[in-house]
């Protein structure tokens, strides 16, 4: 490297290396005020017609599917969910694992990318965290209600009861109760604490009245003083550091539900990492599915740029390939184990009556993301949306394959059955999709969908030494224009 000493010989042309400028995270040199106006505008302005067109049907679907479906279930008994055969869990646990998995991308974006200093997360983390909360709510419905008499759900908690029976702490199902409820609580704290400064921004923009009062209550009197920021930053770091192992543990524990049982097709050590990669994979697809349209509707293209979308597409490619590796490794382990039951389970998956589910899983999860090797595909929003939808569907099929094809051929041939879910079960699942969308729409209407404070922090002028740098071009940011000019003049 040529060192630039002030005494360098003028006659000797100094070798200048081209400096790759860091890609701007926020485009068009937007000001702090522009960011505030644009993000707060989403919830302060009247919602576009499209908002109502999405909210009303999804709220109705949620009401009929979840509200009506569960009322009917509680009123009549779990028989209406088809709990009459060996594939008891089929549909409901598929949906539970599906929704829990969706949530994981939110925590990954907010915690893991925070710890690894990936500043591009700031534009998408709030929406992804909201998605986590809503997905876990949807997930919780299935195990809570499929146990039967839901008013006994408190038996899950280790509380003394009249039967003098205690929970089995050696069971992965109890671990699951702790893991999922901890996950929900911590995600909620993380989401809420991250939102406090932004709620204060909204509070300060409101006219006095009920609205200002309510935002004021939730902003807790935040003032943005550095004596607050200092502790706040530490709290955020700690929550990120706590959430990272938590998110890995949650899906690992979910996978233990399967992996610790002595059932061919489930009893494998690859399950925990395989489930976690799959969860991140499916979650990122869901983030894209909701953020790409939202960015258009609310004109957030300068905040959620093609760079953000490109990064997410690359993560989908990476995790999709890990998932593909896990699928193949499962087959290899089944073959290499020499266990006939294990081999049979996988033969049944691939070529049995559920071959279509296996084929859908393989093509949608492993093949479709391979398009993201090509830059043109990562830049085309239609391709991105198509692949994201493929992955959403494919990840649902993955859980269906794992759960249903295994339970339909357990040890006793007398239990063998071709499974199909009941109408009420299907209705409830469609209802949770409505619930998820309706909650997300309400989130867009009432809460800041992008982290205002953190986005401001990523602007170049937010560095306290930004003004000093302009006097020393070699301090770190080399001016691209000056470099180009020099190139031209040297010719």
């Amino acid at each position: 490297m040529a060192s630039s000493t002030p005494t360098a010989n003028e006659s000797q042309p100094e070798i200048k290396l081209p400096v790759l400028e860091r890609e701007q995270l926020i485009l068009n040199n937007r000001s702090y005020n522009w960011i505030t106006e644009r993000i707060c505008g989403v919830l302060e302005n009247r919602q576009p017609l499209l908002w109502w067109l999405l909210f009303i049907p999804s709220a109705l679907i949620a009401l009929i599917g979840v509200g009506g479906g569960l009322t009917y279930l509680v009123a009549s008994g779990v028989g209406v969910w088809g709990m009459t055969n060996r594939v008891f869990w089929g549909w409901d646990i598929t949906n539970f694992v599906f929704w829990i998995g969706i949530g994981h991308a939110g925590t990954l974006i907010s915690a893991v990318l925070f710890l690894t200093r990936q500043n591009w997360r700031t534009s998408i983390n709030r929406a992804a965290e909201a998605m986590t909360i809503f997905a876990v709510i949807c997930a919780g419905i299935f195990p809570a209600f499929h146990v039967g008499r839901v008013w006994f759900a408190w038996f899950l908690a280790p509380i003394p009861n009249a039967n003098a029976v205690w929970q089995n702490f050696k069971s992965p199902l109890l671990w699951d109760v702790f893991a999922v409820s901890t996950y929900f609580t911590i995600s909620l704290i993380f989401w809420y604490l991250g939102m406090v400064p932004d709620l204060a921004t909204i509070r300060d923009r409101c006219k006095p009245g009920l609205r200002k009062f309510l935002y004021g209550i939730f902003a807790m009197g935040w003032r943005g003083g550095n004596r607050q920021w200092s502790h706040y930053e530490m709290a955020y770091l700690l929550l990120a550091a706590l959430s990272t192992p938590l998110v890995l543990s949650v899906h690992s524990v979910v996978s233990f539900d399967f992996a610790t049982s002595v059932v061919p097709g489930w009893h494998t050590t690859i399950f925990p990492p395989y489930f976690v990669a799959g969860a991140i994979f499916g979650g990122f697809a869901m983030v894209l599915t909701i953020m790409v349209p939202a960015r258009f509707i609310y004109g957030l293209q300068d905040l959620i740029t093609m760079k953000h979308i490109d990064n997410m597409a690359k993560i989908i490619l990476l995790t999709g390939t890990i998932v593909g590796y896990a699928y193949l490794m499962e087959l290899f382990v089944a073959f290499y184990s020499g266990a006939i039951y294990e081999m049979d389970a996988f033969k049944f998956r691939i070529a049995g009556p559920y071959w279509w589910a296996y084929a859908a899983m393989m093509s949608l999860n492993v093949l479709s993301p391979q398009l993201f090797w090509f830059k043109a595909c990562r830049e085309n929003l239609w391709v991105i949306m198509a692949v994201a939808m493929c992955v959403n569907v494919g990840m649902w099929f993955e859980r269906f394959v794992i759960i249903v094809t295994t339970l339909a051929r357990m040890w006793l041939p007398g239990d063998w059955k071709t499974y199909s879910p009941s109408g009420v079960e299907m209705m409830t699942f469609v209802g949770t999709i409505g619930l998820f969308l309706a909650l997300f729409m309400l989130f867009l209407k009432f809460l800041p969908c992008i982290n205002i404070a953190e986005v401001k922090w990523t602007l170049p002028q937010s560095d306290p030494h930004h003004d000093d740098k302009e006097h020393h071009p070699d301090h770190g940011i080399a001016s691209e224009a000056a470099y180009q000019k020099e190139l031209v003049s040297s010719k």
Binding site: T182, I189, T201
Partner: protein, 185 residues
């Protein structure tokens, strides 16, 4: 004329950028003030040093909070599985050697208790929630959550002086210097 008595909270001055705020903070720190703060719409990295602040002690709270969680989970699992209601399932013994099976719950409760300690420890350290604050009476302070950079020096600081503090703020580049008053309750 108003008859309510007012109490002076302190001076509020605006600075034009994060850099200006950073340099001003260094000067106020060196003048020996204690009861003052810098307000900005986002956390400015390095300002802790410029203000002469120590690292947050929150991690210590969280460490003990987390350990409480681990201990609680172990106590819960051990007392129910070994002492009160021993059952032999999955061929696991009903004694202390079952502990590996308790690890997942111990881990989860460690995280859960740590998370709650982060939340409540933070609120205790930053003395929130509170319903009002004298600074909210200022006409310009609402910009601190939008695009304004402010420094407020409180009147209860021993070095506070109505004239000298004002001229110090003006000297180090403060604009719109305002005397913030609160209504005496």
């Amino acid at each position: 004329m108003s008859t309510t008595r007012k109490r002076v909270y302190g001076y509020l001055a605006e600075f034009k950028s994060a850099s200006a705020l950073y340099k001003a903070a260094e000067k106020i720190r060196d003048s020996g003030f204690r009861k003052w703060d810098c307000y900005s719409p986002y956390p400015i990295h390095g300002l802790d040093g410029a203000m002469g602040m120590k690292r947050s002690i929150l991690p210590w709270f969280v460490f003990f909070g987390g350990m409480t969680g681990t201990a609680t989970a172990f106590a819960l699992a051990y007392s129910t599985q070994v002492v009160i209601y021993p059952t032999i399932v999955q061929a696991k013994p009903a004694n202390i050697f079952t502990i590996p099976a308790f690890f997942p719950v111990m881990f989860e409760l460690t995280i859960l208790f740590s998370g709650f300690t982060v939340l409540f420890g933070l609120l205790a350290l930053i003395q929130l929630p509170r319903l009002n604050h004298p600074l909210f009476a200022s006409k310009q302070f609402h910009r601190a959550t939008d695009d304004g950079f402010f420094i407020a020096i409180e009147a209860r600081d021993p070095k506070f002086n109505p004239e000298k503090t004002r001229s110090l703020l003006a000297e180090i580049g403060g604009d719109n210097i305002e005397l913030v008053e609160e209504e005496d309750a």
